[in-house]
Every structure is written in structure tokens, then in C-alpha cells.
Symmetry: C2
């Protein structure tokens, strides 16, 4: 979930780093009583290829329904309009009409068809959008569209809810002698679980990629990163991860560049870049998780299958008992082993081996007398690796999660009131 050695991930760059993208934001009080930005618009100067992955929750928010429609209806996109502070979920026909209006308003300002804009909302479920404020916000955000660090951060801030900091990342690599950029902004930080995208995420690139390949790469990158991230096991109604490709990096004058060919080394490099950005963004979410004080990477190897390894990793990463133990810096490894045990394994504890950091603590059904000082050092760290080998096969999986603190309870007991 970290970038391959070949990529240097740069958090100072955001969604307008690739050629052809502009972003803007406005604060209009959807997140009232705060004066923080709550409407953001991302626009592409040219018709961009696009792909999206969305929540698999059966209770789907209106903006997700509209975005899916638009991705089907239009071969190309020109941008995304987003708001925070209100999820526009469980809002019936009126909510659907409001989401459509958001797309139409943004399209009017950007100068494209409504179907070329996607819509994303995040915040409280079950309240009608204050459309007067939202319309004003869209107008102001479109008026502020620009490029560069300030525009990047303004957009990243506009999609924040309980996030404590904006989250963005970019990587650059060479393609045909030119520099290609893949960038993204995302927000967390509660109601996060697979499946699917578990959050809002907006990726941009200036690589030339056709829609079919874009879809395939985005789906695989999400599966390996966002879908291995859990904060509280609660899949949201609004999860959206979108990738827009302007193709401008390799353009010669007015001639469009030849698209990256599926299966080529170029496609592999591009997929690695997208995965690196998604992986970095997912880690930023885990590090800023509601009330989280630690980032915990759960690695499971030796599963009878990848699926079994994934089930075990997910059970460990979602267990409130495991997560509270990490908050207490308590190496209560029995909770880890027993969480794997209820994930439907084909093997038992007699083949398992559990390592915390670099300290083996349970081996083939028996506790290991570990050095308390080394164990204490592992548990005191901010980043902790939990490695469970099931000893049953070659299946493997990884999950990213956080600990569970008083602040998680505080933040979530007081969120709407």
C-alpha cells in the first residue's frame, strides 16, 4: 500500500497538478455553523475519459445514482461537483432532483452538458440539501476555478467532514520522453469499510487512456488500496472514487496522443502510478481516522486462498477488541488470533504464527515468551505491523486500520447534534 520504489509520492501536489485541470471551492454554510469550505468543483479543460467506482451499499445516496447515470450516458466528462456537510442520502425524489440540479448548475458555469459532470456529497444522512446555499457555492467555486497549490488545497478542504487535515497526493513518471502526472484528493474519516471506495476520492491524470482500460485500472487499484481500509466497518451510502484522464501530457499541438495500450509496459507503469496514489491516499485516511492514534497494517499470509486471508485480515482489522487493545498499547494478541478464528478459516491455531512488529508472539498453537521490552517498543510506535501466518497455503492479504480511542466515541456520539 506504499508506493513502489520508483515513485516519489508528493503531498504538495493535488488534483490540478496534471495538465488540463482546474479546481475551485467556496464556503456557503452547508457545514454551518463553521465557515469552512463546503462546495468544491473540479473541471477539465477538455473532454476527459473517466471511470468511477461507487458504494456497494444497497442504500445509495442521490449523487451516486446521478453519477452512475452520467458515467453511462456520456463518453467523456468535464468535471465533478462536490459538497460536504450533507450527504443527500435517504432524501427520496427531491434529493435526486437536487443532485441533478447540482450537475446542471456546474455544467452551466463550466460550459458543458449536465451529463458531463459527476456529483458527490458527504455529511449527514437524511437531510434535504439547502439548495440556495449549494447553488451559490457552485457559482462561487466555478468563479474561483484555478490551478496550483492554493486551488488544490481549497478543493481538498471543501470535501472534508470530520477530517482534521486535507489529503492529497501525486506521482510523476516519464512516458515517451514526457512527464505524466497522476494526482488525487480524498476525504475520510469515519463510516469507512470495504466495500467499496469507502470515502470520496477524486483522481486526475494527464495520461492518454481509453475508458475501458481506465475502468479496469481504477477497479484494481481500489481493490488493492481503498478496499483494504477499514475504520469502523460501516460502508457508507456515498462512497465514490473517480478517475479523470485529460490525455494532455502527450499531446502534440492539437493532435491527441495515441492512448496507452492495454497490456503494454506503459499500461503497467500507469497502473502502478494510480495504485501508488490510491495507496497513499488510503494511508492518509487511516492516519487521520476518527479518534485514531495509530496506523495498523494487518498482513495475513499462509491462507488456504487469498479470499480466506482477506477474511481473516478484515476480521482482525474490524474487531473493536483488537482496536481498543492497540489504543491501550496492550499486546493482547489473543484477541488477534481469536478474531481470525471467527473469519471462517479452514485451519486452526496449531499452524498459526503471529508477529507484532518483528516480535514473534504466538507460534504453532502456543504462546512464545517474547522479550517484554521489545514488545513494548513495538506497541508504543505510531505504525504497527501485525503479521499473521495461517500456515495453511499461499493465500495472502493486507488491511489497513487504526486503533479505537475515546475520541472515536466522542466524535461519533456528537456528530449531528
Amino acid at each position: 500500500m506504499t508506493a513502489p520504489a520508483t515513485f516519489q509520492v508528493d503531498e504538495s501536489l493535488g488534483v490540478t497538478a496534471p495538465l488540463g485541470f482546474r479546481a475551485g471551492a467556496a464556503a456557503v454554510g452547508v457545514k454551518a455553523p463553521s465557515e469552512k469550505p463546503d462546495v468544491g468543483v473540479l473541471a477539465c479543460d477538455v473532454a476527459a475519459r473517466a471511470a468511477g467506482v461507487f458504494t456497494r451499499n444497497r442504500v445509495v445516496a442521490a449523487p451516486v445514482l446521478v453519477s452512475r447515470e452520467h458515467l453511462k450516458a456520456s463518453r467523456t466528462l468535464r468535471g465533478v461537483v462536490a459538497n460536504s456537510g450533507n450527504a443527500n442520502a435517504c432524501t427520496g425524489e427531491q434529493g435526486l432532483a437536487d443532485a441533478r440540479q447540482m450537475a446542471a448548475l456546474a455544467a452551466g458555469h463550466v460550459g458543458c452538458r449536465a451529463e458531463q459532470m459527476l456529483v458527490a456529497s458527504t455529511g449527514v444522512i437524511g437531510r434535504m440539501l439547502p439548495m440556495e446555499k449549494v447553488s451559490e457555492g457552485i457559482r462561487a467555486a466555478c468563479g474561483a476555478l484555478g490551478r496550483g497549490p492554493a486551488a488544490d488545497l481549497a478543493f481538498a478542504r471543501a470535501i472534508m467532514t470530520t477530517d482534521t487535515r486535507p489529503k492529497q497526493a501525486a506521482v510523476r513518471f516519464d512516458l515517451r520522453g514526457r512527464t505524466v502526472t497522476v494526482a488525487g484528493a480524498t476525504k475520510g474519516v469515519g463510516m469507512i469499510a470495504p466495500n467499496m471506495a469507502t470515502t470520496l476520492g477524486f483522481l486526475t491524470t494527464d495520461a492518454p487512456v481509453r475508458t475501458a482500460l481506465l475502468r479496469k485500472i481504477l477497479r484494481r487499484a481500489a481493490e488493492a488500496t481503498y478496499n483494504c481500509l477499514t475504520v469502523d466497518g460501516h460502508t457508507s451510502t456515498n462512497d465514490t472514487l473517480v478517475l479523470l484522464a485529460s490525455g494532455l501530457a502527450l499531446r502534440e499541438g492539437r493532435r491527441a496522443a495515441a492512448p496507452i495500450a492495454p497490456g503494454s509496459p506503459e499500461a503497467a507503469a500507469f497502473e502502478a502510478a494510480v495504485t501508488a496514489v490510491c495507496g497513499h491516499l488510503a494511508r492518509l485516511i487511516a492516519a487521520d481516522a476518527e479518534g485514531g492514534t495509530k496506523v495498523i497494517e494487518v498482513r495475513v499470509t499462509g491462507g488456504a486462498s487469498d479470499k480466506e486471508a482477506r477474511a481473516a485480515a478484515g476480521a482482525i482489522a474490524n474487531s473493536p477488541l483488537v482496536k481498543t487493545a492497540f489504543f491501550g498499547e496492550d499486546p493482547n494478541w489473543g484477541r488477534i488470533v481469536s478474531a481470525a478464528g471467527y473469519a471462517g478459516l479452514s485451519s486452526g491455531p496449531e499452524t498459526m504464527r503471529l508477529t507484532l512488529g518483528d516480535v514473534v508472539i504466538f507460534d504453532r498453537g502456543r504462546p512464545v515468551d517474547a522479550d517484554p521490552a521489545r514488545l513494548e517498543a513495538v506497541m508504543a510506535a505510531h505504525d504497527i505491523l501485525v503479521h499473521l501466518d495461517l500456515g495453511a497455503g499461499t493465500g495472502q492479504a493486507r488491511f489497513l486500520t487504526c486503533d479505537f480511542s475515546y475520541d472515536y466515541v466522542k466524535i461519533n456520539a456528537e456528530y449531528t447534534t
Copy 2:
């Protein structure tokens, strides 16, 4: 999950209320540094019929393995030996030998074969049992075997871990002109989820019931009560629910009573009594859940199947976001609807109806303008009913859970250290 109107559940009676049972306890420092009782023995004066249901966790504690063996090896039982403070789980061959020794020691004192004793342990995972202390405790508990309120409470206290109070219940009903008693003691209160029994529970009765019927009734009662209870979604390694039947209530002199016939009205009455006791015990666990301040009953109706309704109820009852909202007395119903939404439903929000207490708050895809004062009163109560109708069929299910407070984090961050 409450007793049918025909049963009066009595919490002043415990495991020795049915004829033929004695109980004893001792404090020997397994739960050190506390001086609380930590070894308990339950003994039956005659060879009892028995049934047990155990954890479905693949990581199974040694006492569960031994108890399963003994239930298979022996047609009748004479009792149970239990300890708290140490789960004897993930302890390998030594742990298995220790569990066998516990049974043998208790059997020696009670005067039966080792296979006629079951073993149960609860507490920290991954530590070897301090067998010198445990042996001393078994001797002392067997020396203290007795009947009546003091013996009942001593036994109920000996199985407590983070429980704040002992948990027991009994019901009495007439059968063939005599009084039959079903009683039980149980402990919670974290690491609780289906499946299975989610805790330790020891039930006794003096009804005459053959093993096959006993098994069937215990399994069904557990399914309707203990298996609809969740505190943190973490299925334990040690879950054990046992039912012992002495048959002494209807004995005529030395002649054994005719056993209750399967399918008879007597069987129905007995099953209702067992279910009432299990239901009451499960509610006691929910009410004493680690850090819980409220008992929340999640009822789901209108599912395409009972299975679908159960999945939705379980997702709601296990969501940390739902549970923290109840702690904050915040009617954040979007979290409830969205939790159901990720349970794999066949229907969407447009047919749903959500009621908190007696206040409808979401109806066919749209929020309802509920009276804030009535809603506030519902959320302020200790017992809260959440009723989600999926509007898709006749499937239904019920789950019992608690809210999620600062104290859950505190208790579980500090448990072993």
C-alpha cells in the same frame, strides 16, 4: 426475548434451584490481584442428561475441546468445573492437559468419572493456567458444595470477568402436578457476538428429558436468545452453553419419571421455559455489557427472508457508528438505514420504514418530520426499540445490543495490563 406471560422469571434463584444440584466456589488468585472468587464447581447428585452448544470460532480453547470430547464419550454428566481470569486458549498441548486435569480433579472430589465433568474457562487468552492455584480452588469449591441462594451466587460470581454483577435466573412451572424448575447462571460481557453461545452459560433443570430432546431444545433456545446478542461482534474462543437435567422433579421414590415426549405439550412447555431463562440471561448480559449504558433491541421485519432480516439486524446491532450515536442519545437514523444497506439486502430504501420507540422517522425512502420532543424522550430512555421494516416480504429477526461508550474503550484498552 422476554419470558412469555406465563413465566415469572426469578433472579433470586440460581443453578441449585432445581432438585439435585449443588454448587461451590473459591477465590485462589487466578484473577489476581483481586480476591474475587475465580473457581466454581456445579455438581449433580445423580447422573444427569446433558446438552451443550459451543463457540464456532476456529480458534477453540482447550476446555471447549475437552467438554466436547466428554459430551461425546459419556451418556450422562455429573457436573461442570469452571474458572475465570484465564481462558486457557491458545495454550497448545499443555493447555489441553490442564483442562483434562481440571475435569479429573473435580471428578475425584465429586466421585464420578472424569468424562462426566465438563470444563469451562474465561479470561485472558494465551496464558498458561496456574494449575497449583486452580487445583487448590477445585478442592476448596468442591468442599463448599451446597444448595440455596448463597451457593447460587457464589457460583455465578466465580465465572465473572468484567461483569459488574452476577447473572442468574429461574422459572418454575407445573408438570404432572409437580413443580419443575429451569435455572441458569451466565457471564458476559465483552467479546460477545453470534455465533455461538457468546459467553459462558450453565443451565440446570430437574425435568426428565432425554439427551436428544435436550440437545434440540438447547440449540433452538440458544439460536433465539444468545445468538441474537452482540456486544462487539467478536466471537470468543471459549463460548459454552450447557444444560443439565437431573430428572428429579418427577421422580417417584427410586423410580425414574417417564421422560418428556418429543412433540408433546410437555415438551413445548419445557422448551418455552428454557427459552425464557436463556432470553432473560441474554438480556442481563446486554444490560451489563462492557461500558454499555443502554439496551437496544433491533427488530427487523418485512425482509425477503428471515435470513435477510437477520443480516440487517446484525449489521445495525454491530455498527460502531450506530452504537456511539445511541450513547450520544443522537437520533442519527441515517446510520441505522445505511447499516442495513450494507447487509446485502434485496430491497432498497424506497420500501423501508424506520421507527425509533414509537416515532416513525423514515418512511419509503424519505425522512419524516418527527416531533423532536418525542424523539428526545425515546433516545433518553435506557431501553430503546429500533424497528426497521424492509417492506420486501415477511422475514423477521431480532437482535439485542448495547451502546458504545468511553467506558467500552477504557475497559478494553486496559484489560490485560
